[in-house]
């Protein structure tokens, strides 16, 4: 017994489960059993695997059996192994007691659990314990005047048993679809057949072991024998010796010519777990004699084919003529250009919308509109006056400055005199040098418009000065 799993505490047994995982097997939940552990020789609980060494994928039976030589009133399974990570199939255990010898003594044996386990992971596999609660009869007490039957509850559990799981030898692993011990038998219904009649060819693979993955074998038949889809019968029974399987593949063969034909032998490879090697079995060959005329054949073949599917020629509704084929691969959706077009469209609309809102805001406020127009007009006006050498250019410049100032300073009336302009600018905290410069420019313009000789300043210079003044005013008033 592995004492590391058990702690004896104040005369009581405390089973601490699970402590660890044994080869992928989880032991049942932590459980406290408040009964005394039985240490006598009248009862044993054994975990008996059919084999201590198995191959990966090989099914093996494990029996959990209770051996008794004394009277037991009641036996309850407290915890059963879960076999996590394994394929576990329970077998219907025998209900009756059997007699068995153990360590030189006769015991009555009761099977508590019979299970077929399969694992495909090589390594060490620990079969976890099963725990039972026994209500056992105590030996008679010599002090008792009258002999009375006394019972006491004890806990009993099986020892963990280790099973070595060996990996399958390499090579034919891919073609071997079964592990265990198998036989293959093939048979034909009759060895002589008339052309046009069908014969049944039967393959039977039976044995003991793991054979759930066997698929219908590919038949290498002569071209004169047409083969149809097989009917498959699969039977599997769990026995105490492991699973017994039986595969039956029934093929319908239709000869399309007369003569003697051979159904070649069929090969079936499996892994023999008893001998530890791959075994390839060969079935018997079968010779078939086909007699008769070709006419009878074509008639029979048509009947058979029609019985399976309708003839295409007679059932053109199955075919659809004409189609429009499309490229399956997506080219445009989700591409870079797809997203770019969406993005540009929204940016374009967003900009247009923002601009229109801005225009609307300005249109709603006449003063703002005047300001905006004043800046615009001043810009255009200065550009045209610069290149104008006519007499009216000076007058135009003075009008431009005063109009700009009226709009920019949000005056209801247009400013008409230099003095008025100066006062307004000083009120708006425009620097005195700038105001003085403006006064000077306006004076020059007036002078030049009245006196020919006063046009000593080039109009371009005056325009530059005006630009500078207007920029200074813009900076302060914005």
């Amino acid at each position: 017994m592995k004492i590391r799993n058990i702690a004896l505490f104040s005369g009581f047994l405390l089973l601490l489960q699970p402590f660890k995982q044994y080869a992928g097997v989880n032991i049942v939940k932590v459980r406290e059993v408040q009964q005394e552990l039985y240490r006598g020789n009248d009862a044993f609980l054994l975990c008996v695997p059919a084999k201590k060494q198995v191959f990966a994928g090989e099914p093996f039976t494990v029996n959990y059996k209770l051996l008794l030589s004394t009277s037991v009133k009641d036996a309850k399974v407290v915890s059963a192994p879960l076999f996590r990570g394994l394929s576990a199939e329970e077998i219907n255990r025998p209900l009756n007691f059997k007699q068995e010898q153990f360590r030189g003594r006769n015991y009555r044996v009761k099977f508590l659990k019979q299970v077929v386990l399969t694992t495909d992971k090589p390594g060490k596999l620990i079969l976890e314990p099963l725990t039972v609660l026994l209500n056992m009869e105590l030996p008679p007490d010599p002090d008792d005047f009258f002999p009375v039957e006394k019972y006491q509850e004890y806990t009993l559990f099986s020892e963990p048993v280790q099973v070595n799981v060996l990996p399958l030898p390499n090579l034919k692993q891919s073609i071997a679809k079964a592990i265990g011990k198998f036989n293959i038998n093939t048979s034909v219904e009759k060895s002589q057949v008339a052309l046009g009649n069908s014969i049944n060819y039967q393959i039977n693979i039976a044995g003991r072991g793991n054979a759930s993955n066997i698929t219908p074998p590919d038949l290498d038949l002569p071209t004169q024998l047409e083969v149809y889809q097989p009917t498959i019968t699969f039977d599997r029974k769990l026995t105490p010796k492991g699973p017994a399987t039986n595969h039956l593949f029934k093929y319908k063969l239709v000869p399309n010519d007369t003569g003697n034909f051979v159904i070649p032998s069929l090969q079936f490879t499996y892994f023999d777990s008893e001998e530890g090697k791959y075994v390839t079995l060969s079935s018997a060959k079968h010779e078939i004699k086909v007699k008769g005329s070709k006419n009878s054949f074509s008639q029979a073949k048509t009947t058979l084919t029609n019985s399976i599917y309708q003839n295409t020629k007679n059932n053109t509704s199955l075919i659809i003529e004409g189609t429009t084929l499309y490229k399956r691969k997506i080219k445009f959706f989700g591409s870079f250009s797809f997203f770019i077009i969406i993005l540009i469209s929204f940016i374009f609309y967003g900009t247009a919308y923002a601009y229109s809102k801005y225009v609307q805001r300005i249109a709603a406020n006449p003063l703002l509109q005047r300001k905006r127009e004043a800046i615009k007009l001043a810009g255009y006006g200065l550009k045209s006056i610069k290149n104008d050498n006519s007499d009216v250019a000076y007058t135009q410049l003075s009008i431009l400055i005063l109009t700009y100032l009226s709009a920019r300073l949000e005056m209801e009336k247009v400013i008409s005199t230099t003095k008025e302009a100066k006062t307004m600018l000083l009120q708006r905290n425009i620097a005195l040098p700038v105001v003085n410069q403006l006064q000077e420019v306006l004076s020059r313009c007036y002078e030049a418009s009245y006196a020919q000789e006063a046009r000593k300043d080039d109009i371009k210079q005056l325009c530059h000065k005006t630009e500078f003044i207007l920029e200074s005013i813009e900076k302060v008033t914005t």
Binding site: S87, T215, Y309, N311, T316, S317, I319, L325, F332, F333
Partner: protein, 255 residues
Amino acid sequence: MSLHNKKTYFFVLIVASFIPFAHAQGQESLYNKGVEELKRGSTKKAISIFEEIHAQGYESAELYNNLGTSYMQENKIGLAVLNYETAIILKTNNPQILENSTAVKNKVKKSSQNMQDDVITFFLKSLLFTFTIDEFAIVGINLLVFGLCLMTLYLRIKNFRIKQVGFGFLFISIFALTAACLQYYFRININRAVVIAPKLIVKNAPSFNAKTILTLNEGETVKLQDNFDGWYKVSWAKNKNGWVKESSLKKIILL
């Protein structure tokens, strides 16, 4: 250019921009050849032609239907069902394809239950597969651009009719783009497969040694739930699932 001419030009421009990618004329003549071979009874030739068209990246519900018919004649029920199922997804309401599919499905021995779509999914699918993803995307993008242009124009010319048409374009474009997205999502998330092996053993865990739950027959359709180490977790009825080897199944792939 007169006002009438301007209108005509604008209309032609819109219609021309909606013309989707040119369809495969050469492939369609090959398709017709395949149909002729199938009618003659040369199913193997027909299969190779149809498969060639498919391998070149083209598809249509009719192509899948005829492939299904060819495979049915070749007694490959699994592949026949697979192609009919694909055809039905592309054209949910084609009575001829539905009839053919039902005919082949009736020949399949059933271990599983029919997992049919509900009415809403059926309606949605038939609407979604009216056009291809790219066609929906092109129509959607064009309408979006035109719609936004009209809305921009409306900002300048306050004409209520322009606004109405612009909104209409935008609404249809959103519908078309949503349809493209949904179809894309649906195509990449098809989780159905057809059994192509004569018998398919379903295990309770992804291992050959696991317990066998059920045996499925060729041509049965299952829902794929999970994938692990060469095994598929499949469901063949409500709350019924198990593991099968992926080589015995063929997934319905639409992208």
